[in-house]
Symmetry: C2
DNA sequence: TTACGAGTTGAAGAACTCTGCAATTTGCTA
DNA sequence: TAGCAAATTGCAGAGTTCTTCAACTCGTAA
């Protein structure tokens, strides 16, 4: 391995390691949204949201396009949904027996199985197993 | 959502956000290993490795058991492999066109497809797609 | 052109994380 | 029991990341 690849991976995960950034990604799973809508959903100051959006943008995980008076964000890799599902799945295992968040995770996964599925195939599998 | 679930997720990703921790998880994908072996593979001081192992332990991602004079670590959720594969997949998309790490990512995924597969089903799918 | 709304950027301070060293614990083996 | 090797823990300093506030840019509409 000539370039430290695990470093790129670590950076990528660190990029996801913030509550606001997670919320943004989850909201964008259902399609592109203008900043205004994100702001309405995420209880946070506009400038803070902008900071976090900048982090996601610099990492190349989301893209921003200006559209008549507002900026619209979208996932640049649609499989982020798969990653979040994987994470949910692992959290379920890791927390199994720890109670707490487990019920919520299950509820969330269930809600998604009902939702119209426009996602990668591996995600369906993971959710199915849940 | 009564407990901030996105916060649990963010913490989980933050836990993965360190090169040494990623290396540990990748090494453990092939089965449990004693600290000694991890230390031999990962160029780092013993105490630093211990610190990072403690982080993974506290997050419940790995487990440690003492076995005749050494401590053996194992993944507590075997699907961590799936998560890392998901991450690789996304990195591939995100970096597509940025060159750089892309060739390495592909090489790594290829190596794994050849390897004996004792992993969750979703992982095989993801690697297949790569 | 001016003013406005929508987002972004910059900077300072607080809060966290990382590293490496020294000290400590634990269980084996003599 | 004494000594050793294997890991872990505590701690201080260096480095990052977060938050908040104020200043700024950009496009649109008057």
């Amino acid at each position: 391995m000539t370039v430290p690849l695990y470093q790129a991976k670590a950076e990528f995960f660190r990029t996801l390691g913030h509550p606001v950034r997670i919320q943004v990604l989850e909201l964008l799973q259902n399609g592109p949204l203008p900043v205004r809508d994100l702001l309405a959903e995420i209880d946070i100051e506009a400038s803070s949201l902008s900071q976090q959006l900048a982090v996601l943008r610099k990492a190349g995980i989301v893209t921003a396009t200006r559209e008549s008076g507002s900026v619209v964000y979208a996932l640049s890799a649609p499989d982020v949904a798969g990653l979040l599902a994987s994470a949910r799945w692992i959290l379920t295992e890791v927390l199994a027996g720890q109670g707490e968040l487990l019920a919520e995770l299950r509820a969330e996964a269930g809600r998604e199985s009902d939702a119209p599925a426009r996602r990668g195939p591996q995600v369906r599998q993971e959710l199915g197993a849940l």
